[in-house]
């Protein structure tokens, strides 16, 4: 056989192998982390781990609930801030903005996505922490001294701080996905609506957004998952003190990813500690993988529907 054909076939096999490797990577990760978290699951039930808030590794208590609550707080705050701002920005860029603004927007969003998480953390410490400590916290706790605003944490390192920093970090993913989705909405739909005498905003509200709704939901899901797993920036600004179950936006929050990151030094010295921490990583993997599968699944479905006519 010709040497060129032999080369061709060898390379084809190798490439197929790479394909399988990438395909199996996510299962490998799940398997590896699950194997490592087995020892603790054998001793403590999953229910106890998820719903107990007692975290004393030296005594063998590994309750994750306050960390799960912390994750919930920062993610929720980030999403509440980021979603409306990102969607409005994406609509503006794709529907209203002039060519010049549009050309400027892309590099800005790319750059925002490319900045290191640690830089967001530094920015959070320099700018957002004082903002929360000196302005937001006194204002809200005086005016609205009820459920989510009451706290005795006056440091500025709080769930809200983490949420604000996270919100800025989730802008790029939500904006770029929504913009992409809006671009797939056929131009004729807009023209038909405008021809009926609708204003531009009415066209967007009743025609474009209706068509784009599944895609926007996907964008939000992807944004949630991004906020859910972000580690270093949150670790730096959210307070992260042990033994506090966050009940207010101004309480310090200690989300799961930050917990994993913070234990790197001591993890191997206490029995079962590494197992508990890797269980947290396993939970994080499963949740973000599910969110991403749903989000990208919706987008894939839209794309295929578009292609088939």
């Amino acid at each position: 056989m010709n040497i060129r054909i032999i080369k061709e076939n060898l390379v084809r096999r190798a490439m197929f192998g790479l394909c399988l490797f990438v395909f199996s990577l996510i299962f490998l990760m799940a398997f590896g982390l699950y194997q490592k978290s087995k020892p603790i699951l054998a001793i403590v039930s999953l229910k106890d781990l998820l719903f107990s808030s007692s975290w004393h590794p030296t005594q063998g208590h590994f309750g994750l609930s306050s960390f799960i609550a912390g994750t919930f707080w920062v993610t929720a705050i980030a999403v509440i801030i980021a979603v409306p701002l990102s969607i409005l920005t994406a609509i503006y860029i794709s529907e209203y903005a002039s060519g010049c603004v549009r050309r400027l927007a892309k590099p800005i969003i790319d750059l925002l996505a490319g900045i290191s998480p640690i830089i967001f953390g530094v920015w959070g410490i320099i700018a957002v922490v004082p903002l929360v400590r000196d302005y937001l916290m006194p204002f809200f706790s005086r005016r609205f001294s009820f459920f989510p605003f009451v706290s005795d944490n006056y440091t500025g390192f709080s769930a809200l701080t983490g949420g604000i920093v996270l919100a800025v970090m989730t802008f790029p993913i939500i904006i770029s996905v929504v913009e992409e989705v809006l671009r797939t909405v056929p131009f004729e739909i807009r023209e038909a609506s405008l021809a009926l005498g609708a204003t531009k905003w009415q066209t967007i509200k009743y025609a474009v957004l209706k068509k784009a709704r599944p895609g926007i939901i996907a964008a939000v899901i992807l944004g949630v998952s991004r906020a859910f797993g972000e580690t270093m920036a949150v670790l730096m600004v959210a307070g992260c003190s042990l033994g506090v179950f966050p009940k207010s936006v101004f309480d310090p929050a200690y989300p799961l990813p930050a917990l994993i990151a913070n234990t790197y030094g001591e993890m191997m010295s206490i029995p079962l500690y590494d197992s508990a921490v890797l269980l947290a990583a396993f939970i994080l993997l499963i949740v973000t993988a599910l969110f991403n599968m749903v989000g990208w699944g919706i987008l894939l479905y839209i794309e295929r529907k578009q292609a088939s006519g």
Binding site: I26, L28, G32, L111, I115, M232, L278
Partner: protein, 283 residues
């Protein structure tokens, strides 16, 4: 003025406001880092390694972290390229356009892209334990490579998708195999896009801290062995800000400025590159 007009204007105002917030958040971040970091920046920061007591305010710099990050980032990018490039060529040239395998690999890449870096770090840690490695440059390189494979593969994929179909056909018609077509025709045509993808992935790899925390650890000495821990710039910033001493925190801000400048430089370079290197490409 009628109600519709008012609604139109209100929402338009809201949109302009949101866009302004998003854009100004980037500007604010850059300005804050610059204002805080610049006064603390000096030559010692860049050309010296931390001396004893550096984290207590004694003299030294972060050369160990700068070099460590560059070496780790470069090696990881190279490793990721070795996986991504053949993979993407396989997806685009060897598989049919609507093949199920191609569809599912792209889907998995998208999902992998959304997995947080701390999970990669934890996975890298389990791999390390499995193979009996200690926290080292090698473990860091492998973990960061895994982290940036999805980013790199998906960006190269976007580039290859844009390549005109006729180019492939012309090459096949001359009797070239798919491998020859890939290397001699498609690769050249896609080169500017591939370089951009490499730079994007490099920027991501160099800026990530959560994945190297467990796997590459940290050290005050310069990187000299694949099997020894290595310092990285993001972690260096993290540790310097974690100290209670204002002068060390100042240096943390300066290190943050160094990292930001590196990342800015990479992203500007990638913009310039995507415009150049078009000697062999067909418009």
């Amino acid at each position: 003025m009628d109600k519709r007009r008012i609604e139109e204007n209100v929402f338009k105002g809201l949109m302009v406001f949101s866009t302004f917030i998003v854009a100004s958040s980037l500007v604010l971040i850059l300005i804050t880092i610059f204002i805080k970091g610049f006064p603390a920046l000096n030559l010692d920061m860049i050309i010296k390694t931390p001396k004893g007591g550096y984290y207590l305010g004694k003299e030294g710099g972060v050369l160990n972290a700068i070099l460590g990050s560059l070496i780790l980032g470069t090696a990881a990018t190279f490793l990721a390229l070795l996986v991504s490039l053949p993979l993407v060529f396989y997806l685009n040239l060897y598989l049919k356009k609507n093949s199920r395998l191609a569809l599912s690999v792209r889907f998995i890449l998208d999902v992998l892209w959304g997995i947080p870096s701390i999970v990669y770090g934890a996975f890298g840690f389990t791999l390390m334990v499995f193979f009996g490695l200690r926290a080292s440059l090698l473990a860091g390189i492998i973990t960061v490579a895994l982290l940036i494979i999805p980013i790199m593969a998906r960006s190269i994929d976007e580039v290859l998708k844009m390549i005109p179909f006729e180019l492939k056909e012309a090459s096949y018609a001359l009797g070239a195999t798919k491998l020859e077509t890939s290397i001699k025709v498609i690769f050249r045509q896609a080169l500017p896009g591939i370089l951009t993808a490499i730079l994007i992935a490099f920027g991501r790899g160099i800026g990530d801290a959560a994945s190297v925390l467990f796997t590459a650890s940290f050290t005050d000495s310069l990187p000299y062995s694949l099997f020894k821990p290595v310092a990285t710039l993001p972690l260096s910033i993290f540790f310097q800000l974690g100290t209670p001493f204002p002068e060390v925190q100042q240096r943390g801000y300066a290190s943050a400025l160094i990292l930001t400048v590196i990342i800015l430089f990479i992203s500007i370079l990638s913009r310039i590159l995507s415009g150049k290197f078009t000697k062999h490409t067909i418009k």
